[in-house]
């Protein structure tokens, strides 16, 4: 059935048949309660000395049945639930959900709402990358970046708090636009943040980019090719670091991303170091996007005309956005009632985590920690 000669032929994921208990082989269990697994992820490692022969992920510890809950809530009531999946990028989750329901309802948020959405979502991308950088560096042994990134992330959370009252699970958007008009001084504070943050990225880079220990721990670690990424469905910064210039904001623009000028940073080697560089460059691009959005913030209404009781016509829609971790998709089936008939979330972390096995084979145990960090998974989203 497969065409092995094609350049797109699937991965060979099979391992040679070996007896389970080989005297040279050690099976150890990492997690679910392990500080470096970024949540409750259990990894069963098969080791030959320090070398990883293969691994299996055991997930589901945080499973809350979000998709089932969605079938039992109205479209509006389900909106806050999506924030709890990727809880460090709640705004992106909300954007994806609201846009999908808007597609079902055949409405579009007004321009001002679109701009504010882009500003908040890109701020969220920065916040998510900051959290990733701090914890990833901490895992590898650099403690300082954590303090720097959390100090600066606080400024973003302050903007969120002032805007909608919440810092983490923000529920910032509503189906059809925004619930709240921006507060007095919103534009100024966002601009101040951008001016404050630009030199901070340099500061992070000063700590790490040429740091000998950092480079040794990340270069040529967890290498994955662009071809393998595509075969496994891996998206986001991991895909781009492997040299595939693909970003949904460009490939299939949503919100009003087509109005903004930005670059898609890519890497070449597909290793942990390149993924670090790509995410750093993405933060700079996010700053660029926010600057353009806030400079051109139009006046006008913030809500489209949507009915109080939403009953989208029977039909189904798949819509996806470029979340900080990769392609976040929603597949919603409507039967014409007030509640979705089926809500499916296509989480980037879940699909990306599948690549962990491929990326860790042949590496050392200590590198597994680095690779889990570089995949930037959030277990709330993996397990839903």
């Amino acid at each position: 059935m497969t065409d092995r000669n094609s350049s797109l032929s699937p991965l060979d994921l099979e391992t040679p048949e070996k007896p389970f208990l080989d005297a040279n082989e050690l099976v150890i269990n990492m997690g679910p309660q392990h500080p470096a697994t970024h949540g409750v992820l259990r990894v069963i490692l098969r080791l030959d000395g320090e070398k990883v022969l293969g691994l299996e992920c055991v997930i589901g510890y945080l499973h809350r049945g979000v998709e089932k809950i969605g079938e039992h809530r109205t479209y509006t009531m389900f909106n806050p639930y999506v924030d709890r999946m990727d809880y460090v990028a709640a705004v992106s989750n909300g954007l994806g959900y609201c846009e999908t329901v808007e597609k079902l309802l055949n409405v579009e948020a007004p321009p001002r709402a679109q701009h504010v959405r882009v500003i908040l979502t890109e701020l969220n991308r920065i916040a998510s990358h900051q959290l990733w950088l701090g914890t990833h560096a901490l895992d590898i042994g650099a403690i300082t970046p954590l303090f720097y990134t959390f100090r600066d992330r606080e400024e973003i959370l302050k903007i969120y708090e002032k805007y909608c009252g919440a810092r983490l699970t923000t529920h910032a958007f509503r189906i059809g636009g925004l619930q709240y008009e921006t507060y007095n001084g919103f534009e100024k504070e966002v601009k101040n943040f951008l001016d404050f943050f630009r030199p901070k990225i340099d500061e992070y880079e000063e700590l790490l980019t040429t740091n000998r220990i950092w480079v040794e721990r990340t270069k040529n670690i967890g290498v994955i090719s662009g071809k393998d990424c595509i075969a496994l469905g891996v998206t986001g910064p991991v895909l781009r670091a492997s040299g595939v210039k693909w970003d949904l904001r460009r490939a299939q623009p949503y919100a009003n991303y087509k109005d903004f000028d930005f670059d898609i940073p890519t890497g070449q080697n597909g290793d942990t170091y390149d993924r670090y560089l790509v995410r750093m460059a993405e933060m700079r691009q996010s700053v660029r996007i926010i600057q353009q959005a806030v400079d051109a913030l139009p006046e006008g209404p913030i809500m489209a005309k949507v009915p109080k009781v939403m009953k989208p016509a029977a039909g189904e829609v798949y819509h996806s956005i470029e979340a900080p971790k990769g392609e976040l998709g929603y597949f919603i089936v409507s039967d014409g009632s007030t509640q979705p008939y089926r809500v499916r979330v296509r989480p980037p972390s879940f699909v990306n985590l599948q690549a962990l096995d491929v990326m860790c084979r042949g590496q050392l145990v200590a590198d597994v920690i680095a690779v889990i960090g570089t995949l930037d998974i959030v277990l709330g989203e993996v397990d839903r």
Binding site: N106, A231, F350
Partner: protein
């Protein structure tokens, strides 16, 4: 009220000419999808992947319609990097019927198929390791079926494994 309109494209014409009338291609809300007879699924997916460059399997999921004769609808969301095009392939199967695994085409289908199995109890023939992924292994029932209540749990599992009377 918007309704699906036929989806005309060279791709659809080509598939229809080689596979006949078992394909229904429609567009809804600007999104293309085709409903394919279950028996043709392995071939159609293979053609889409190998000849039409749909090299990225975005998602595999299912929807349960208990009132239908063929209760489950399986959905593949596909994307082609070369064409920058997205489409969905759907098929209907009855309860207890299986469907060919698409891991040979897209290795990333592994976990997605396991999740569909876990949540709906749909078997993917040829899957190398078809077991539950989000729920614990000994759990009984498939929660995303419509006849599974939102508060329902496998009480026996909870009592044995957690040592409590009920998870509620």
């Amino acid at each position: 009220m918007p309704t699906p309109v036929p989806w005309d494209s060279p791709l659809v014409a080509k598939l229809k000419s080689s596979y006949g009338s078992g394909i229904e291609a429609l567009t809804y809300a600007g999104q293309n999808y085709m409903t394919v007879d279950r028996s043709m699924i392995p071939e159609i997916l293979q053609v889409l992947r190998n000849e039409e460059q749909f090299d990225y399997c975005v998602d595999i999921t299912a929807v349960h319609y208990p009132q239908r004769e063929k209760q489950f609808e399986i959905v593949w969301v596909l994307y082609s990097f070369a064409r920058n095009e997205r489409m969905r392939v759907k098929t209907q199967i009855a309860d207890g019927e299986g469907i060919a695994s698409s891991i040979p085409l897209w290795p990333g289908a592994n976990w997605l198929e396991r999740e569909v199995f876990d949540m709906f109890g749909i078997k993917f023939d040829g899957h190398p390791d078809l077991k539950r992924i989000l729920l614990p292994e000994g759990w009984k029932g498939h929660p995303l079926r419509k006849d599974y209540g939102i508060l329902q749990q496998d009480n026996e599992w909870v009592q044995i494994n957690l040592g409590i009377e009920s998870g509620q």
